[in-house]
Amino acid sequence: MKKVLIANRGEIAVRIIRACHDLGLQTVAVYSEADAEALHVLYADEAICIGEAPSAKSYLKIANIISACEITGADAIHPGYGFLSENANFASICESCGLNFIGPSPNTISLLGDKSRAKEIAKSVKCPTIPGSPGIVSDVQEGLKEVKKYGFPIFIKASAGGGGKGIRIAHDQEEFVRQFAAARAEAEASFGNPDVYLEKMIMNPRHIEVQVMGDKHGNYIHLGERDCTIQRRRQKLIEEAPSPVLSEALRKKNGAVCCRYCKSC
């Protein structure tokens, strides 16, 4: 890797550019017309305008980003977070264009983007999961049968959802019937995929995430956990590291399980 194009903007683009400079890598920033004077543009070694202000016309415009690599000779792309970072299609296009996509493989991205499949993999590597339906629940009758195993309240979750979106709660049978149809419609509209699965609702949980890093040689490490319990409308407000509730033993166990899980994807 000699020259990295950062397919993002704002603070994450600046951080990536800084890390690249520390590693002696050249950097290319991309920007929309609205961001011509942004810090990441001034900070990078080169900068290419890739479109108009709306993200769909610039930061999400795959063709222009790949072309920017072509004309600058960039041999790697760092997608940052958001935008195209969890787009399996983009990762696949990078691969077929001979560009180093600094992130998971396209297969891993699509596997983990489907929450229901992600849970199936977890079970296969003995990674504990929240009790819930074994996979997608296609209709309300099937759903009602499943709920009997776990009890109310129950989450109805969009398989293609994320970021706190696509989640509905049912406290009884009547509510479940109402919410099930609504959840599928909402999932279709928001994520283009109506599939939902069920999950037992845990009351007053701690939401803890573990950051795992892997390289193409099969080495995986975890970088500790972040306690993301403080949320508003299921969106994180702050992340605490380390988590105040995890013992050292649980931290080690957690980390090992997460590495094992990611390695299997």
């Binding site: 017309e33 063709a63 790949i66 072309s67």
Partner: protein, 161 residues
């Protein structure tokens, strides 16, 4: 940047107790000033500066492709203030070609009359050759990009009056 300004920066670094200072100007000029580490704790506390000069870095958005025109640069500068006509800008990122293939004649030259649907150039992106149409009718007054030169979104390519 003049040497006097560099000396002022060095003095400012000393006052603020900074070890390293990097400056990057809009015209591409870059300068990094870094204090040498002290080896012996008992040496004098006068720091030594080692100015490090980086060659100017050219941002794509600041480079102007050579203009295919016989006018002098002074006249061109005056003209830029009161520009006639409309620019046809690049709708994508890629490489500009002025002819359909290396063996073919160029699409248009200065002085040619064009209509809205006249193809002015090709932009190659991801191995796909994209024809770019004028979008306006008039006469080609200026061709702003050289054949084979990379273009980004919004790069001015032709001026039509």
């Amino acid at each position: 940047m003049e040497f006097k300004q560099i000396k002022e920066l060095m003095a400012a670094m000393e006052r603020a107790g900074l070890k390293k200072l990097s400056v990057k100007e809009k015209d591409g000029f870059e300068l990094t000033l870094e204090k040498a580490d002290e080896v012996h704790p008992h040496t004098q506390s006068h720091p030594s500066f080692h100015p490090v000069y980086h060659p100017p870095v050219i941002h794509m958005k600041e480079t102007h492709a050579p203009q295919i025109s016989s006018k002098s640069s002074a006249e061109q500068e005056k003209k830029e203030e009161k520009v006639e006509g409309r620019y046809v800008t690049s709708p994508m990122v890629g490489t500009f070609y002025s002819s359909p293939s290396p063996d073919d004649p160029i699409f248009v030259k200065v002085g040619d009359r064009v209509e809205e649907n006249t193809v002015l150039c090709i932009i190659e992106a991801m191995k796909v050759m994209n024809e770019v149409k004028s979008g306006v009718s008039g006469v080609v007054a200026e061709i702003c990009v050289s054949n084979g030169h990379p273009v980004e979104f919004g790069t001015k390519m032709f001026r039509i009056v």
